[in-house]
């Protein structure tokens, strides 16, 4: 589950939303073409000066229509600097057919696989992008499909067209500008701190983290975390029963031996401790072995992936890829090990109590 969640976040956050986005406050409400970011290069330089920022890219975002010879649909056209965009989102690796962008060709676009199906277009197909200018005029331009991408999120694939920002600016004319700045961090754990710093630095702009940009993903992430802990608790309860059963068997099978030990002078405290130490010792052997297997399995499938192609179409609608790469944080192994030890310790109490309640005279005679 953690791997699937990671994949989903990777697809939508790292490869599209990125960690933090900055907009003109007016753009967020209306998505209208005139709400550009003032002095975008200055803002970009300011962002890069903040410690912890990994890469920054500037985008033009315009909502309009894409028309093919046979179909038409609403799209979000994103004008990007291909090189900077790739630093932030590694978008080039999602191009499934064709190429990312070529240096010397103009008016190229990257179209999502779902969108290509909708418009019935393929590589080298021609499409017309149409937008409404600020003054109400219709702006349109012809573009050729240089690549078809699959981000693993069909919602992104169905709605977004990517073009070179220079070509977009030519088309938009006096309405050209930058509507969006996207950036990634070196460590996503600092997202709230960096977000807060950016907001303070640029009070006139709207700074949002991925949690605000994709609240459903944030909620799902929290939910998955909660579910994981529930699952873990259920597993620990199962483990507890298994340990109680095993150690009770061990006590019952050694009734005569325990009776003999108590008869010759082993007191209840020592008997209790003996059963507890046996359980902890077994845990010391079993736990690292189990954690080791879990680590190796996760590492192996984390690189190789587990194909869930049978559920492919359904999962892609939720932004989940059909290839799941299991992933566990290193500190989780430690936390689980501690949980296992605590569970083992608590589970051993009942069998230990049963052992010390044995009456030596009866225990020795047990058949």
């Amino acid at each position: 589950m953690a791997g699937m969640m990671n994949e989903m976040m990777e697809n939508s956050i790292n490869h599209y939303f990125s960690h933090i986005q900055i907009h003109n406050p007016g753009f967020k409400g209306n998505n209208e073409i005139q709400y550009t970011i003032k002095d975008p290069q200055k803002v970009e330089a300011g962002i890069k000066s903040i410690q912890g920022v990994n890469a920054v890219t500037l985008r033009t975002v315009v909502f309009g229509m894409a028309t093919s010879p046979t179909s038409a649909t609403g799209v979000k056209a994103v004008g990007i600097d291909p090189a900077k965009e790739n630093e932030v989102t590694q978008f080039s690796q999602f191009v499934k057919q064709g190429s990312y962008f070529t240096d010397n060709k103009r008016n190229e676009v990257l179209v999502g696989k779902k969108l290509a199906e909708k418009l019935h277009i393929k590589l080298r197909s021609k499409i017309i992008l149409t937008f409404a200018a600020q003054d109400g005029n219709i702006l349109s331009g012809a573009f050729r499909v240089c690549g078809i991408y699959g981000s693993g999120n069909t919602q992104i694939d169905a709605a977004n067209i990517f073009a070179n920002i220079q070509d977009m600016n030519v088309l938009l004319g006096k309405d050209s500008g930058y509507h969006e700045i996207a950036l990634t961090l070196k460590d996503v754990k600092n997202i709230d701190i960096v977000g807060s710093d950016l907001q303070k630095k640029f009070p006139g702009l709207k700074v949002e983290t991925w949690k605000e940009l994709s609240p459903e993903t944030a909620t799902l992430n929290d939910y998955v975390g909660f579910v994981l802990w529930i699952l873990m608790s259920v597993m620990m309860i199962g483990l507890a029963f298994a340990i109680v059963n095993t150690m009770l068997m061990a006590v019952m099978e050694r009734t005569r031996e325990l009776g003999m030990l108590m008869a010759i002078g082993m007191n209840k405290r020592r008997t209790f401790l003996m059963i507890m130490i046996e359980t902890i010792s077994l845990t010391f052997v079993g736990c690292p072995f189990g954690v080791g297997i879990a680590y190796l399995t996760t590492e192996y499938f984390g690189k190789k992936g587990i194909s869930l192609a049978s559920w492919g179409k359904g999962m892609e609608n939720f932004g989940m890829s059909t290839m799941v790469y299991p992933h566990l944080e290193n500190n989780l192994y430690f936390q689980v090990s501690i949980l296992v030890f605590i569970t083992a310790f608590l589970s051993a109490i009942y069998p230990s109590i049963r052992a010390i309640r044995l009456k030596p005279a009866e225990a020795i005679r047990k058949i």
């Binding site: 031996e257 003999m260 010759i264 002078g265 020592r270 030596p360 005279a361 020795i364």
Partner: protein
């Protein structure tokens, strides 16, 4: 002073609320150095009486005084400690801890008594030599014969320097040669070190070697005879 005083002891078990008297009004005394056997048919109460003497069971009536201390009303924990310091046990079977060697089994009881290592090592060697098993120190019980295991059990019983040793059917699972060998060792210890042995037994070989034979019938002492051995 007697080593053991059993004063008017009775034991009644309750089997589904039906009282079953196992031992009735038994009064006996044992002095240091006795080599005594409790004999009687199955159900006569000899094992119950042995268990009461050893503190493994509490009497319904009467009391047991060991070396001047009334142990009848000691708590379970105190009784375990008392047994550790004062009473040695040899059982019919399952005497030894299977995962420990002969040396470790004998040493075990001294570990429970928190004796220092040097003393433990010395005493283990001494006792295993006394029972003729000095070459079996590092052998586990499953690698020894029944007779050898019982000899190790005797060595362990002696390791705690008890006031007396209780042996419940110690020869029951042994062939005649092993039984004779075991009895020789115990008789030797009794003679040389004045160690008191009290047996619960059916075995005529043991009865013949005992100097005092106490016969129980239906939970009561029916005879108490001194033999010239």
């Amino acid at each position: 002073m007697n080593v053991i005083d059993i004063n008017n002891v009775s034991k009644i078990y309750h089997d589904n609320a039906i009282p079953v008297p196992a031992v009735t009004d038994v009064t006996l005394n044992f002095t240091q150095g006795e080599f005594a056997a409790l004999v009687g048919p199955s159900g006569s109460g000899k094992t119950t009486l042995l268990n009461i003497i050893g503190g493994l069971d509490k009497p319904s009536k009467g009391d047991v005084v060991i070396a001047g201390q009334n142990v009848t009303n000691l708590s379970d924990s105190k009784m375990i400690d008392f047994r550790l310091q004062n009473i040695g046990f040899v059982f019919q079977a399952y005497n030894l801890i299977p995962v420990l060697t002969a040396k470790e089994n004998v040493e075990f009881i001294m570990l429970l008594q928190n004796r220092p290592k040097a003393e433990r090592d010395r005493r283990v060697a001494e006792l295993l030599k006394e029972v003729g098993l000095e070459d079996k120190m590092n052998t586990r019980p499953n690698e020894m014969s029944g007779g050898q295991q019982q000899r190790v059990a005797v060595a362990r019983a002696l390791a705690s320097k008890p006031k007396f040793i209780l042996a419940d059917e110690p020869t029951a699972n042994l062939d005649s040669k092993s039984a004779a060998n075991l009895l020789d060792i115990m008789a030797e210890m009794n003679k040389n070190e004045n160690i008191t042995f009290i047996f619960s037994t059916h075995d005529q070989r043991v009865i013949d070697r005992a100097r005092r034979v106490i016969t129980l019938t239906d939970g009561k002492v029916s005879s108490d005879v001194i033999q010239n051995n």
